[in-house]
């Protein structure tokens, strides 16, 4: 067979090869995103995502969406503009959360015995699904950044509230009031994570009283818009094929 001849001999064979190729690419993309996104999120979101006593109504709400909208935006850029596939955000977040669950279960619980109910990952899936849907319906990076990015920030706290609310029930402990999440952090000793490292409930949003979470979520949404633009461009740049000879794009 010469180089100019086709590798397949029929349409059925071509379809079969194409599907095999699909699964190979999907598997590779999935594991690459899982690894890269996981490292990125652990380095930037880190303890806010590790521990329940970091999941507060100000900083966790603000930080987690901002630092996690990155890979979804970049993968969307590649999959949408190259293949019209509106799954970039969901695929990224599913990969991240599978990686996180493996890590939390195998390492945090399996190796160091932290109960899973103190170290489960944040839920980023509702925002990711909406991000994909907005891109598909709008076919616009700007619209996805503005509407989808804002929604990504806004949906984060309510999307996680059913999971963390039971841990925000108050308890009186030796004369002090704290939440069950605080008590988890106190009980389950983290030698390398002293209490003062915790960045929770810090900030100046004091005039909003107890309703600070929606304000934090809006702020997070606004910054997520900017981060979306930035990483969407990263994704587009990385999805270029200039390095392939004779490629028009």
């Amino acid at each position: 067979m010469s180089a100019s001849q086709s590798a397949v001999r029929s349409r059925a064979e071509a379809v079969q090869v194409s599907r095999t190729f699909d699964w190979m690419i999907l598997f590779t993309l999935f594991t690459a995103v899982l690894g890269g996104y996981h490292i990125h999120y652990m380095l930037t979101g880190g303890d806010w995502d590790f521990w329940t006593d970091w999941k507060d109504r100000r900083l966790w709400v603000t930080v987690a969406p901002i630092v996690s909208i990155t890979f979804p935006a970049a993968v969307q850029a590649c999959l949408w503009w190259r293949y019209r596939l509106p799954v970039g955000a969901t695929l990224s977040v599913v990969a991240l959360m599978i990686g996180e669950w493996i890590n939390r279960y195998m390492n945090f619980w399996g190796w160091t015995y932290f109960p899973v109910n103190i170290c489960f990952p944040s839920n980023l899936l509702p925002g990711a699904i909406v991000l994909d849907v907005v891109l598909m319906l709008g076919n616009s990076m700007t619209l996805t950044a503005v509407i989808g990015g804002l929604a990504y920030g806004l949906l984060f706290y309510p999307g996680n509230w059913p999971v963390i609310a039971p841990l925000h029930v108050p308890v009186e402990y030796n004369g002090m009031m704290m939440t069950l999440a605080d008590l988890q952090g106190y009980h389950y000793v983290r030698t390398g994570t002293p209490e003062y490292i915790r960045m929770v409930e810090k900030g100046t949003l004091r005039t909003f009283g107890k309703d600070v979470a929606p304000v934090s979520a809006f702020f997070s949404g606004f910054v997520s818009i900017i981060i979306y633009f930035l990483w969407h461009f990263f994704g587009r740049w990385f999805a270029k094929t200039d390095f392939i000879a004779d490629d028009a794009s």
Binding site: R57, P115, A165, H187
Partner: protein, 414 residues
């Protein structure tokens, strides 16, 4: 020659594989905390732990034990370490093998960070509840913001039983008694499973159809719009709206189920109650201090003045948790860890009772393998080669006085 080279290369590769495979079979548990690796000056000149007591050496799962004692926040705190203005009383254990059921400084519960004053002594207690069986090195520890963990002496404690029997009952302010060990775990799994199911459904809807090659060809040939059908958009709308409805409904139902919730609690506790040691009537001046590397011994020349009304003798030198005792004056009865106790490690040139009003210059030698074992000898490589520690003097009635010393240390290598 080439054959020999090839053989060497092949054998080297095989040896490397064998070494790696062997290494995999030897993975001992990390049961201590690298306390010996911490810079010696950090351990000698920051927090001085003394009068330590571990209430038990063996506990069953669910049983409790305490570490109690005192610590002096050294007045000569090194310039290279941030002051303990934000500190946290911790314990050095390999993960949550115990839970910290309580910790107190001066009788005040300290689940949060505290501010400590230089030169003050504090009394502390940590209540631990055994959770995981094994032999664990249990340390007192103070984390200092900007300074890092300052680990105190450690003692081996054996936990017996089974971790599956461990329970952590807590009664909330809403009157519910829960087991914090697995509380709300089903809820965590449930909601994550729900969202994973929705996300997988969305992914499956797209990846069940031909993906990369045909879609790329379509996009490249200007037929991208044909790839998203009206049906696709309807399904997308369904997922988008459905997601928002589920989020809103689950939040509302959660608020109904948990009407009383509070924010995480945080803050710094100031004004911790200090422990008043008896006023010292002994003054000590360090004339010189040397560390003899080959002999693993530190020698100090001290000028001691007794300004009290009873004769005193030097019985102990304590630095970095290592206690050097003169058994003629003081013997340990607290079951202090053997490796940190030099029961006959303190030699004094003239340790006869120092009468009231008398001043005497004495040669004090603190010698023990602990200098090497605990890497305190590495002090000579520190950026600020000063030593520090606590001297304890006793009178005939057993009354104790504490004096701190802090001076340059000169190493001698011959």
């Amino acid at each position: 020659m080439k054959i020999i080279k090839d053989k060497v290369a092949k054998l080297s590769f095989v040896a490397l594989l064998v070494a790696m495979a062997t290494a995999m079979f030897y993975a001992p548990a990390a049961s201590a905390h690298g306390e010996k690796s911490q810079a010696a000056f950090m351990r000698m000149r920051t927090i001085h732990w003394f009068d330590l007591n571990w209430s038990k050496e063996e506990v069953a799962v669910n049983e409790t034990m305490t570490i109690s004692g005192k610590f002096l926040v050294f007045a000569g705190w090194p310039e290279t370490v941030d002051k303990p203005e934000v500190s946290f009383l911790n314990v050095g254990i390999p993960g949550p093998v115990f839970i910290r059921a309580g910790s107190w400084i001066g009788g005040q519960l300290v689940p949060r960070s505290v501010s400590l004053e230089l030169g003050e002594v504090y009394e502390f207690k940590v209540l631990l509840k055994a959770r995981r069986p094994g032999d664990w090195h249990v340390h007192s520890m103070m984390n200092v913001q900007g300074g890092g963990p300052i680990i105190g002496p450690g003692k081996w404690v054996t936990v017996t039983g089974s971790m599956s029997q461990f329970v952590n009952p807590v009664t909330t302010l809403t009157g519910q008694t829960i087991n914090l060990e697995n509380y709300a775990l089903d809820n965590v799994y449930f909601w994550h499973a729900v969202w994973f199911a929705i996300a997988f459904a969305w992914l499956l809807f797209w990846i069940k159809r031909p993906l990369f090659v045909p879609r790329h060809i379509a996009v490249s040939t200007g037929k991208a719009d044909s790839l998203i059908s009206a049906g696709d958009k309807k399904v997308g709308m369904l997922f988008g709206v459905g997601t928002m409805v589920i989020v809103a409904a689950s939040m509302a139902s959660t608020n109904e189920k948990y009407p009383v919730t509070t924010p995480l609690q945080a803050g710094l506790l100031r004004g911790m109650k200090t422990y008043q040691m008896p006023e010292s009537t002994v003054s000590v001046k360090v004339d010189d201090a040397t560390y003899r590397v080959p002999g693993r011994a530190m020698q100090m020349t001290l000028t001691v003045t007794n300004n009290g009304d009873s004769a005193i003798r030097l019985g102990e030198f304590n630095t970095a948790g290592v206690r050097f005792l003169d058994p003629a004056v003081h013997e340990d009865d607290t079951n202090y860890p053997d490796d940190l106790l030099a029961e006959e490690g303190l030699t004094v040139s003239d340790n006869s009772p120092l009468a009231p009003g008398e001043t005497r210059t004495i040669e004090v030698t603190a010698s023990d393998a602990a200098w090497e074992v605990y890497r305190l000898a590495d002090l000579i490589y520190d950026p600020d080669s000063r030593f520090a520690g606590l001297l304890f003097f006793w009178d005939a009635n057993g009354n104790r006085q504490l004096v701190t010393v802090d001076a340059p240390l000169i190493p001698t290598f011959i």
